[in-house]
């Protein structure tokens, strides 16, 4: 069963609200491995914060909602927003830095999500982005 948050303004404050919601829900599923819970929270924060920080909406009313579906082997995460189209699968993260002096300080989020999830999909339907992550 998928459980969704309400639509909420895509702000950094609401990232924390969503993380708290996801964590509370996850604690109702003790079968979820601690490592998967960690990945869930890391990826969720990254993806929703990306919307809050980088997405825009023509009318300025950018909203996001998140869903979770717990499964025996893990959890599926659904992130939906009405920002401009952004396909994280087509996004090319910067190369992996190996030299501290020349390394950038940020821009590692999508790479982390790709590394930590077992699958990622993206759809654009109407004015909405739909991202689905599989964890575990």
């Amino acid at each position: 069963m998928r459980i969704f948050t309400n639509e909420m303004a895509a702000t950094l404050d609401n990232v924390l609200v969503i993380i708290g919601w996801a964590e509370d829900l996850a604690h109702e599923h003790p079968d979820l491995a601690p490592a998967s819970l960690n990945v869930l929270l890391v990826c969720l924060q990254e993806m929703v914060a990306n919307v809050a920080l980088h997405a825009t909406h023509p009318d300025g009313f950018l909203v996001v909602r998140v869903g979770l579906e717990f499964k025996p082997a893990g959890v599926c995460v659904f992130i939906e927003d009405n920002g401009f189209p952004f396909d994280p699968i087509k996004y090319s993260p910067k190369h992996v830095d190996t030299d501290l002096a020349s390394a950038g300080v940020g821009g590692r989020g999508v790479r982390i999500v790709r590394q930590l999830t077992s699958a990622m999909s993206y759809d654009r339907v109407g004015e909405w982005n739909f991202v689905r992550l599989e964890i575990g």
Binding site: L16, N38, Q45, T98, V105, R108, R111, I112
Partner: protein
């Protein structure tokens, strides 16, 4: 999140991060951490008691490490839990900032001066 600073007998500063490093207090953490390590030649960031490291917070660790290198100082990470190490590896940050399991190893790596 709690930040505790102490020094070893060899003068190495250990900054322990305890709790959860989240975006809610990112600015405060960055300001405090930078102030703590800005003039120290050898710094160990102890992650033993860090429960969660969200990806945006990696920026703070990389900034501190880059600043140290620019000054000619050295900064390493110590004893991340499995969850934290997962994020450090997935991000590639573990390739940039040395990670040690034991304090003695970290301290030795910082204080070791190769013979000229």
């Amino acid at each position: 999140m709690e930040i505790v600073s102490e020094f070893t007998e060899r003068g190495v500063q250990i900054v322990s991060l305890k709790g959860r490093m989240s975006i809610g207090d990112l600015q405060e953490i960055e300001t405090r951490l930078k102030a703590l390590v800005s003039d120290k030649p050898f710094v160990i960031i102890d992650l033993t008691h860090l429960n969660f490291l969200f990806s945006m917070c990696l920026r703070t660790l990389v900034i501190c490490a880059k600043d140290a290198e620019l000054r000619g100082d050295r900064l390493v990470l110590l004893a991340p839990t499995e969850n934290i190490l997962t994020v450090l590896k997935a991000s590639g940050v573990s390739l940039l900032v040395p990670v040690y399991v034991h304090l003695s190893q970290a301290e030795e790596a910082l204080c070791f001066k190769p013979e000229v």
